[in-house]
């Protein structure tokens, strides 16, 4: 094995992640590879400040993939303190010695990182042209308070670090999907669209205009639990859920929604008109997807199994493109 690899393990460099949401997604795209199983992971966390509960769930998630954290490397005192209290070993990795996996750089991953080939490609771009008959032209419930906030453990706001390094493409997550898909000449094969736009009329609340605020500048509400039927989370900013969102639950954010798990309920991103908002999940089975003023329902013909399991991590992302909600899926080709 190459120098720098601990025995039976490898290094994941997440130091470019600008916030927890991104970190979780980078990590998930790496962890999706079956070779991760049983490995000892050395996590490079960079400057990101992670609170104890955040680090704990990252650890739990790595463990849920049958892997282990060997040690972490961090520049943040906060993260260091969290690691100490969790009994996670801290070690320093020097960039010179060790070939590292830069999660944000595709070529790095391919060339230097173990045998992982993260070939995230656009697989399917849904055609969402059809409309159906539900009409609505009034204000929707935007201003409801965070209903489950009191019940949810471990909720806090996370300050987003806004250092944009020039090396990192700001939207690398998306660009990968699109450009790679184009390069690979991947076209959607299935005729059936996963989501169908609802003709709901103007559903943005009165006085709210469409806008394109950078969601990365918004605070993030971090929730470490499964949302069950009947539970609602509403937040001005981004919402990151580590866990599943069951059918019957509702997530409403003025920014992005990220579910590290199965999203089965209703998700409304950009609820105050932000058309750049995205909904991301490891499995996107939302009964309804709402982004800004666009509503889409899951296709009736889409057969979602009664019991949903996910051992396979194939993150999906929904966002608006040309006035339609489109969904991109990462697929591993092997």
């Amino acid at each position: 094995m190459e120098k720098g690899f601990v025995e039976n393990g490898f290094i994941i460099d997440l130091s470019d992640a600008k916030n927890t949401t991104q970190l979780v997604f980078e990590l998930s795209s790496i962890m999706e590879h079956p070779d991760v199983k049983g490995k000892k992971i050395c996590l490079k966390l960079g400057d990101l400040d992670l609170k104890q509960s955040q680090l704990l769930s990252i650890k739990a998630l790595i463990e849920s993939m049958d892997a282990d954290i060997a040690f972490i490397d961090t520049n943040s005192e906060q993260t260091e303190a969290s690691a100490i209290s969790l009994g996670i070993i801290i070690s320093e990795l020097s960039d010179k010695e060790i070939p590292s996996i830069a999660a944000s750089s595709e070529s790095n991953i391919k060339e230097e990182a173990v045998e992982i080939k993260i070939e995230d490609e656009n697989v399917k771009k849904d055609d969402l042209n059809k409309t159906i008959e539900i009409h609505a032209d009034i204000e929707q419930n935007q201003n409801s308070p965070i209903e489950t906030a009191e019940d949810v453990e471990d909720i806090y706001e996370e300050e987003t670090t806004q250092e944009i390094s020039e090396i990192i493409p700001t939207e690398h997550f998306e660009t990968n999907f699109e450009t790679l898909a184009l390069n690979e000449g991947l076209v959607p094969k299935e005729e059936i669209s996963k989501y169908i736009l609802l003709d709901t009329g103007d559903v943005l609340p009165a006085g709210v205009e469409e806008n394109s605020v950078n969601t990365e500048a918004l605070p993030t509400l971090y929730i470490n639990q499964t949302l069950r039927s009947g539970q609602t989370v509403t937040y001005e900013g981004n919402i990151l859920i580590i866990g599943d969102a069951h059918p019957g639950s509702e997530i409403v954010a003025t920014g992005d929604i990220t579910v590290w798990g199965i999203l089965g309920g209703i998700a409304h991103a950009g609820s105050l008109g932000n058309i750049t908002s995205k909904v991301r999940a490891l499995k996107l089975n939302a009964i309804q997807l709402r982004i800004a003023g666009l509503y889409a329902r899951r296709n009736d013909t889409l057969n979602v199994p009664y019991v949903q399991k996910t051992n396979e991590f194939t993150p999906e992302e929904a966002h608006i493109e040309d006035g339609k909600i489109v969904i991109y899926k990462k697929l591993r080709r092997d």
Binding site: E133, A136, E139, T200, S229, Q231, I287, D300
Partner: protein, 270 residues
């Protein structure tokens, strides 16, 4: 036009109110009537699932009451039958989000433009029940041939009788298993009717097809071959005033059986 508002209630939970609402609603609509189904089980809504309409719900009854949308906008049209629509319950709220007066107002508005308004009532006798009953003038009491369900149905009938607005109420006996009745392990239809002294509107057999139809979001009345589907179609016809004989679910008829039956009745009453 003034339509009929019928509440489907039971007292005991899980005896088949929602299944009955979805099926009778679908059957009435198929027969050419304009039908609205109202789910009043706030926080535990199911009717949308049984009809396979969950993905179409944008507004719920609570949005109507809290004036976030107009009543018409909240009506979700059925996938197959344009005569049928659903006013969904809110999943993220509880029974206190709605009161009886508001529900009555909604029923009154809906009956102006529909032949039937069917109200799926939550279990229990508390506010949810009071709300559901408020706008109705007829009731269907669902029960199963079990002592506990019958006891609760009896309680409900008592409450309905005390309500001036309820002009008529009928019994729907669900999950009947002829083989068990035969072996005297289940009360017979006659027994139940006698205990409750209430006219029957339908007898629905136990049918595993109901489980699969629930999971598919497709009421069993749409299945021409299912016995339970046929039984529900008959209920719809009776509601429309036709005389339809009850399905022969193979009740014991001989002399010996009658005696056995009498014993079963005794046992049941003890």
């Amino acid at each position: 036009m003034t339509g009929r508002v019928i509440v489907i209630t039971s007292g005991k939970g899980g005896v088949g109110k929602t299944t009955t609402s979805a099926n009778i609603g679908t059957a009435l609509a198929k027969a050419g009537n304009k039908v609205v189904l109202i789910d009043t089980d706030l926080g535990l809504r199911n009717l949308d699932l049984l009809l396979g309409l969950e993905n179409r719900i944008v507004y719920t009854i609570v949005d109507v009451i809290e004036e976030r949308c107009k009543l018409k906008q909240a009506l979700v049209k059925d996938k197959k039958n344009p005569n049928l629509s659903l006013l969904a319950a809110a999943q993220t709220r509880d029974k206190t989000a709605v009161n009886a007066e508001q529900l009555k107002e909604i029923c009154d508005t809906l009956k102006e433009e529909n032949d039937f308004v069917l109200v799926d009532c939550p279990a229990g006798i508390e506010q949810g029940f009071q709300n559901a009953v408020a706008g109705a003038s007829e009731a269907i009491v669902v029960t199963t041939p079990e002592m506990s369900a019958i006891r609760d149905a009896d309680r409900i009938i008592g409450l309905l009788e005390a309500k001036e607005e309820i002009k008529s109420y009928k019994l729907l006996l669900n999950r009947v298993r002829p083989s068990l009745i035969k072996s005297n392990e289940m009360m017979s239809v006659d027994d139940v009717v006698e205990i409750l002294s209430c006219p029957l509107v339908g007898i629905i057999p136990e049918d595993t097809g109901i489980i699969t139809s629930t999971n598919k979001g497709e009421p069993i009345v749409n299945d021409e071959n299912a016995l339970a589907g046929k039984a529900y179609r008959n209920v719809a016809q009776r509601i429309l005033g036709e005389e339809v004989p009850f399905l022969d679910l193979d009740e014991p008829k001989g002399f010996m059986a009658k005696i056995k039956n009498a014993f079963a009745k005794l046992k049941a009453k003890v």
